[in-house]
Symmetry: C2
Subunit: 325 residues, 2 copies
């Protein structure tokens, strides 16, 4: 426990930062007409009846006079896609509103678009809060969208992964002597992946294709004209291997053709193969949209973000399918 | 935009709820010595110098007198594991502190354990906030731990999935005509899963085992004495299939033995097989701990939560490996 005598502002800030918040931009119009806006995470709700919210602003902020003199200000709860806007309104000196389309509001305070929620307020009280002023506003109007909100925690932007009201159980509790639990990341990744492949596999079987063929066609749809060796470099990470025999099956189905280029034999996708691949992608996207809908858009974004971070931190050095040759 | 005349408290609350917060429990000791505590998400930081925080409490709350009379209160930023505590302090009437161990604090206000952060405060100001009182406290002492914090958004608990400062890129940007993007959940799940298997596969090859054998041994380690058909029911979701031939290889390695039981032939794990399986689990756990460390504990929790939700919502009806026979 650090007591006040030894307060280091940076350490105190770090402790405060563990309290998660959303991110807001709060705007007003100065008496000279200038548009004013600041990024703040000190926002919170106060009262339901009358409807009131609050936030606090440093007494030495450039915008103090504008917010103190103007009676009206708008709070914008930023969406997950507005990280850039958050950064822009947190910095000083630039024309923060450049290029932004504004909505008509109740007051003359600027009203930004595409936020998760907006509260149009009139100052009810302004209170002393140490080196900050606490503005309490009566909410005159509000709206909100279905856009997932941006989150801020310990100095970093974040997305929320919502917990359902009941704990998610995937099966019976394993007996205590069991070394596996359903909480193992490897198990969860595998099962989620295989379940996603399950629907895909059903479809592949109707086209007389297997998973390996699916991967081969996917790679060729991105990078055509590959030797068997090059092809294998791209699917190696799946643990599958393309052989001359497995390619012969795809040739027999007329999805792939073999062409000679100098000394090399190269596999080329046929028009039929390209069509089959497009059908596969369409199904993969449909399976995926269905899953994202079940999770919710914000949670699906969070899952993709975490998977990308996991992939980036565990990449054993995969060849980049999309890089220039 | 809803204007004030038509404010429906529930709709207004829903709009306010889009602003993400942490969850706190704020405690004090009443003049008669009674321990008081309430769950609040209206907490926020106010001032760095002097160090100040605020929160608000409904004027009709039972604890108003205690917080108004006592000059000292403690704010506990709850960790992701303290959801139960949050619920307990949000309800009325029960002995909220029953069974809780308390720490010694600066004041007589109770100090809870195992939180993400704690702030011990003395009331600096109490302000009118509509149907709430805003308490501004001077922070006399604080501490914080590395425990990931609990998050609250739109009426649900959540965990934060942190965004790194730089966007995570897994490879070059695909050309616009490409139908695949690295933002497809199926691709990300597959790649994350395969990368996790990569390290595992390296090890398996040193034991002359393949992935199918790994799955077979895993299933037998949980459910021994299975017929080939029963075994396949459990690994079917992986797309792999155990055949009499693949089992013969495991028999030759003396990991598995075939026993007759009535009309059935059943596969039984040998002591060697059990040992090999334990080695595999140990490696799988090591790979996993390494990955969780790279993501951070809170993010690893969030990833597991989202994967479980995805699995639960996309389960094609997998047999439960752990259920009673």
């Amino acid at each position: 426990m650090t007591t006040q005598k030894g307060f280091d502002p940076q350490a105190f800030r770090a402790a405060l930062g563990t309290f998660t918040t959303g991110v807001t931009i709060i705007t007003t119009r100065a008496q000279d007409g200038e548009l004013i806006g600041v990024t703040a995470n000190s926002f919170n709700s106060v009262s339901l009846n009358p409807p009131m919210v609050l936030w606090s602003l440093a007494k030495n902020a450039r915008s103090v006079a504008a917010f103190s003199n103007s009676k009206h200000w708008n709070v914008h709860v930023l969406s997950a896609n507005q990280e850039e806007l958050s950064g822009r309104f947190a910095r000083q000196g630039e024309n923060k509103f450049a290029g932004l389309e504004l909505d008509e509001g109740i007051s003359k305070a600027p009203l930004l678009k595409e936020c998760t929620a907006r509260f149009q307020c009139r100052t009810a009280f302004s209170y002393d809060g140490g080196d900050h002023i606490i503005f309490v506003g009566e909410v005159l109007g509000y709206d909100h969208s279905a856009l997932p909100p941006l989150v801020f925690q310990s100095g970093q932007y974040a997305l929320a992964a919502r917990k359902p009201r009941e704990e998610v159980r995937l099966g019976a509790t394993p007996p205590p002597e069991c070394n596996y639990t359903e909480d193992l990341l490897g198990y969860l990744l595998g099962r989620a992946h295989y379940q996603m492949l399950y629907a895909l596999r059903q479809m592949l079987s109707t086209q007389a294709l297997d998973e390996r063929s699916f991967f081969i066609l996917s790679v060729l749809s991105i990078r055509d004209r590959l030797t068997l060796e090059e092809l294998n470099a791209f699917i190696d990470y799946t643990g599958m291997k393309a052989s001359a025999e497995s390619m012969a099956a795809l040739e027999a189905q007329q999805f792939v053709a073999l062409e000679t280029e100098g000394e090399d034999l190269r596999y080329v996708m046929t028009a039929d193969g390209r069509e089959a691949s497009l059908r596969q992608i369409a199904l993969a996207k449909a399976v995926e949209e269905d899953m994202a809908a079940k999770l919710g858009p914000g949670d699906a974004m969070a899952l993709k973000l975490l998977l990308k971070r996991l992939i980036a931190s565990s990449d054993p050095g995969m060849p980049d399918l999309w890089s220039a040759r």
